[in-house]
Symmetry: C2
Subunit: 395 residues, 2 copies
Amino acid sequence: MLNQDLVGLGKKRSTIREIFEYGNARAKEIGRENIFDFSIGNPNVPAPDAVRRTLLSLVENTDPVALHGYTSAQGAEPVRAKIAESLNRRFGTAYHAGSLYMTVGAAAAISICFKALTCSPEDEFIVFAPFFPEYSVFIEKGAGAKCVIVPPRIEDFQIDFDAFARCLSPRTQAVVVNSPSNPAGAAYSAETLTRLSALLQEKSAEYGHTIYLISDEPYREIVYDGIALPCPARFYPATLMCYSYSKSLSLPGERIGYVAVPDVPEFIDLYAAVCGAGRVLGYVNAPSLFQLAAAECAGETADLSVYAENRRLLYEGLTAMGYRCVKPDGAFYLFPQTLEPDDRAFCERAKKYELLLVPGADFGAPGHMRISYCVQTGQIRRALPLFQKLAEEYQ
Amino acid sequence: MLNQDLVGLGKKRSTIREIFEYGNARAKEIGRENIFDFSIGNPNVPAPDAVRRTLLSLVENTDPVALHGYTSAQGAEPVRAKIAESLNRRFGTAYHAGSLYMTVGAAAAISICFKALTCSPEDEFIVFAPFFPEYSVFIEKGAGAKCVIVPPRIEDFQIDFDAFARCLSPRTQAVVVNSPSNPAGAAYSAETLTRLSALLQEKSAEYGHTIYLISDEPYREIVYDGIALPCPARFYPATLMCYSYSKSLSLPGERIGYVAVPDVPEFIDLYAAVCGAGRVLGYVNAPSLFQLAAAECAGETADLSVYAENRRLLYEGLTAMGYRCVKPDGAFYLFPQTLEPDDRAFCERAKKYELLLVPGADFGAPGHMRISYCVQTGQIRRALPLFQKLAEEYQ
């Protein structure tokens, strides 16, 4: 007797993965250079050289028993101290080593938060569409709670506060933000975060329990046009900051990230719940070598300039053809409207031109498509005429 | 509102961790050399040099985008193929790349199996005392099922089949074996596994569903006196083999292991349930660099000879003093009877001599103590006179 929900989730990959696999199969048939795969958010710039140098130096010069040994469950103390310092310097926060809990990437970080905050199957977590679809998998199947979706505000992908207010309830345990976001690339403005904070404080008081903010920030170093990205934890005290080095250091396969637990009155219990959740989910400690490497390279980023160029080319190219699109502030996704209301039909039609796009419906925003531009710039240049031909079909 | 179970589990470490932390604090007071910490199972021999060479070569010579990129959720295909081959060569099994699912260590592997096999909170998993206490945490708090404990057979720590038969029920989803075991070091004999297999086949038929065997094998390379360790998967077809390189390659902090899924009629669904469980628990993929390193070094082991010498010294020394002890076949633990029935009181008294031992009650076998001998041999030599003094208190 197997858990049939999990059988289903194991068999039916996410749509993104399915399209990605389709692309791989198609590439074998007609050649990789003839496929324009914009499906997957896999960083295509190398890790900064500092990562390579740090890894070599650690492996050459550290006692292997210490280097590869268990760390404490929350991560090595010097690692957490270094990362806390780096955060405080950059964001004016007041973390310390004891605030941080190192995780096996951001997926683990947010899964641990959902688990820590779920007391009953009736508990609710709120996400804003369009959203990373695994959120609902982690909430519903991982933690066993309810995922409540706030409809998108498609003119700018900020928060529709009327719709949001209707979603809040006494069962709301936490609200998830992802700024800049996957799939829209939208960064929440200071105004949005101020209003969000005010509403959460009001509702926490009304319901008599803290509504936490889970801030999933793997893209925070990837922002454009020199904008200063507002830090959610600076706006709302009860913010669990979840981070991964996957995108900033181009280390997605190594699974290294953290939860930064805020200095709230119930800090001791909150931190303990995070540790307890990590423990019951089988996360013994985050990988030890990459804990050290991440701390050593905390201030570095991969060369993210290619994403800026890709964004410019794609945004300017597509809008000139008549595609309607909110200009993304960050991340490496464009989320334009599809040229017909049925986004799945549109993405199917795009395959005729070997353009692999992900329907917006998968992110809770039908009528859109996600275009991942963490690809070679040449792929974008060669794809633009095909987007043009696709647009012409609708004229 | 926090999950209070998890708050509790986050605050109250395992007894083992508590004793370990006590030892660290005490070492600061009176010097590390005056503390005889036998509490924790942290390998103290370095990873084999092949690991160091492999890591250096991978970091020097591999495109970082490929090296540190996402792998497929089940792990990189060439890694799985290489490990399957190595298993087949050593154990006469018939795994292939598609049988394996790479995990973030053995704790993740068994947590994933528990989750995959839990359909209802009434579902039961059977463990044999003495057992690794995190099993019950993963089963009850992680997967949300029931942990059923078979009492120990203290004369040899094989299976008490009468007691076991009484624990089986139509709700039994799986049985966990751990050979050689933590904490007793007992390896299940071919006779034990033959009988276990027969009983599970009989009961599976009777209940009309497969009872799986979850075989947790992190210690299988650490066996003594040249015994040929029987491989559970060769005795019972429906065995999920869970493995970690933590002990054999001395890489416990790096969290790399796998589940090998058996070729049963429901293989496709079973493998999918494993993938689905890994997905919902937030395990995106096992750490990519160490997937490659583990595959490359799959045939290697750290120099495990120090454990053999430690076992000899400790076993011979303690039994000569009158301690009663089953001679362990493997792993790096001795599990003698305490000299008074109350094992907690005994371990408290041992602290007078700075001997840090873990009460057997923590493993479901009161009246015993666990002595981890993955320590410097000198520590054992210096500790033996103290075990003698402790014994004299009871004469």
